[in-house]
């Protein structure tokens, strides 16, 4: 059973109002905002000013692993059962580069996929409030809070232009 995170959710119709609200809450020291938008928009990204995603490290690691595996596996199998062909060297690095290249791409991609799944927390049950219109034309801000904070934040969200505010 996944535990719901308590908080307030403000629904916005306009991106500029949303960005002003993000700036307002960030100015007040709130770094735990969860912002919903129907598309990845640069203006929201700039307003949130988040760190660079660590997915790139997964890609790099996968690429390195694939490349190494490509050379090591082809060399090992060639030496495990020596089958000379056309006077070519048994371990042929040039020929094996093709395999190493393909495996670099393959492992880089698979690791990138895992990077996205782990960092974006896919395949997990949603723990916060949500509105179906976020995949259509509405924007939203979710702020985790409890008790009296919720009432204060609801007021703040409304004053920042949220058209609907819900608690959960």
């Amino acid at each position: 059973m996944s535990q719901q995170i308590p908080g307030v959710l403000g629904v916005f119709s306009h991106m500029d109002t949303l960005i002003d609200a993000i700036k307002h809450f960030k100015k007040n020291g709130r770094e735990d905002l969860k912002v919903f938008s129907p598309a990845p928009l640069h203006d929201i990204e700039h307003a949130l000013d988040e760190k660079v995603s660590p997915v790139r490290r997964f890609t790099l690691l996968g690429g390195f692993l694939g490349c190494t595996l490509g050379y090591v596996f082809t060399s090992f199998t060639s030496l495990d059962w020596v089958l000379p062909t056309s006077g070519k060297p048994v371990v042929s690095p040039v020929a094996f580069t093709v395999i190493a290249f393909e495996l670099t791409i393959l492992f880089g991609s698979i690791f990138t996929l895992f990077g996205i799944i782990l960092n974006a927390k896919l395949f997990r049950k949603r723990k916060t409030l949500y509105d179906d219109r976020f995949t259509d034309d509405k924007f939203g801000i979710f702020i985790p809070c409890t008790g009296d904070d919720a009432k204060v934040l609801e007021k703040e969200l409304r004053s920042q232009g949220a058209e609907e505010v819900t608690h959960g």
Partner: protein, 446 residues
């Protein structure tokens, strides 16, 4: 660009409309397509029961229609990756409306291509011997063989394209989920893998998407290069050429773009999405077709020049025979369809006349199939020793399997457009101006 600026909810509504209950014409079309797939299946079953004798393959032409089909279908897939990955990196905004269909086409084309080596080897039940695995025979595969490079290249291409495609679909599946009810909502909810459109997800998603595009770009260039080396690494006259890799890649993009247009022209009409898939998109695609047609034509001329300049009698003979020998019809068909038929695309009035564009793209599809047939068969039929020459004519079984492969490809595509959005909702929204309260900001964003 201004004409592609629609309100967000219009985009969602119009694109998801394509997923509505299928019309009678769609059902009839699917019935015909499935009939074609069954025909292909029957032909393959006959080949499995009777042996390779029912195919037209025999000494010296051991590679015929099946390998032609394989190269053709791998090539068709290339335009999808070009549009989805390379044009993404170049930030070509005209890709947004078409890349989803093109990507789907890539997946289904590679799925089709993957069948042909299995069909071609005859004993399909041992096709998995191509994969290196520890086995009782203690024998490993030969990694110095271009055929094995091909196994790795094509399977990597399929895997990476499939991941890229599925990742791209997630936000759009979430949009379907949020509009659906009952069982449909549950199914799309499961497929949307917990997507909630939050900044916590977009941040990592967009970073990963960029890396997929960066990885898919060299991959797409490598795949058809590796396919070309199946031929170029051998010493068969007409095949042993250093220009094969770029020549094949350009040809693949050429045929793939033509196929994208062949599919999208009726598609926009059937689903009434003319306002999203505009003449501007077709103009841009036609320009790319024209460019790749020029590269392909230049490669044909280079092949002839090198055959003459090399003073290699066998090379010169093969190129003479291709044009004036027994296989002259596919050769001149190739020249007409790939070099001459696309020439009217120099004129904007033709590029924006979809009836003309449709006819030209059909010619290109035929021409590119002829190109592969021409390269493969003519060289094998008349290699070095005249005593070993022999002629090849495709059998009815091979024709049936080829027809079945087209139906197999279209079957997946038709199923796809009824279950998933064939235009990317989120990327179309990226093109539009977000809803703004302040007019000034809206103008700035536009």
């Amino acid at each position: 660009m201004k004409e592609l600026n629609f309100p967000y909810n219009d985009i969602t509504r119009d694109i998801l409309k394509t997923l509505e209950k299928p019309s009678t014409s769609y059902v009839l079309m699917m019935a015909c397509i499935i009939g074609g797939v069954l025909l292909g299946g029957v032909c393959w079953t006959i080949q499995l029961r009777e042996g390779m004798g029912v195919a037209g393959l025999n000494h010296p032409v051991g590679w015929g229609v099946y390998i032609t089909d394989f190269v053709f279908w791998v090539g068709i897939g290339h335009a999808g990756t070009l549009i989805s990955a390379i044009l993404f990196l170049f930030r070509a905004r005209w890709r947004n409306a078409i890349f989803r269909s093109a990507e789907a086409m890539t997946i289904f084309a590679v799925m089709t291509a993957g069948l042909f080596p299995i069909i071609h080897v005859g004993r399909a039940w041992v096709a998995w011997w191509l994969v290196p695995y520890p086995n009782q025979r203690m024998l490993w595969v030969n990694f110095r063989s271009p055929l094995l490079w091909d196994v790795f290249a094509v399977s990597t291409y399929f895997s990476v394209s499939a991941i890229f495609f599925c990742i791209g679909l997630i936000p759009d599946i979430a949009a379907i989920r949020d509009r659906a009810k009952g069982l449909r909502r549950k199914i799309y909810g499961f497929l949307s893998v917990g997507w909630d459109s939050s900044n916590h997800q977009w941040r990592h998603y967009m970073a990963g998407y960029g890396f997929f595009a960066a990885l898919a770009t060299p991959l797409v260039l490598s795949v058809h290069s590796v396919v070309s080396w199946d031929f170029a690494v051998s010493i068969v006259p007409g095949w042993h050429s250093t220009i094969f890799a770029p020549y094949f890649v350009a040809g693949a993009v050429f045929s793939g773009m033509a196929m994208v247009m062949t599919i999208l022209i009726p598609f926009r009409k059937i689903f009434s999405i003319e306002k999203y898939l505009t003449l501007w998109h077709f103009d841009m695609m036609a320009r790319l077709v024209l460019l790749t047609s020029s590269i392909v034509t230049y490669s044909y001329l280079t092949e002839y020049f090198i055959a003459w300049y090399s003073d290699d009698k066998f090379e010169q003979f093969i190129f003479w025979e291709r044009a004036f020998g027994k296989y002259a019809i596919p050769f001149w068909g190739m020249i007409f369809c790939n070099c001459i038929a696309p020439l009217p695309l120099w004129f904007k009035s033709i590029r924006t006349n979809l009836k003309w564009v449709f006819v030209i793209t059909i010619f290109i599809n035929i021409g590119m199939w002829f190109e592969r047939f021409n390269i493969i068969v003519s060289s094998l039929a008349q290699e070095y020793d005249p005593y070993a020459w022999g002629w090849y004519t495709p059998s009815i079984i091979e024709a049936g399997i080829t027809l079945g492969s087209f139906c197999w490809f279209f079957m997946w595509f038709f199923l796809f457009i009824k279950f998933f959005p064939s235009m990317a909702l989120t990327e179309m929204k990226e093109l539009a101006t977000p809803p703004m309260k302040g007019k000034k900001l809206a103008e700035e964003a536009a």
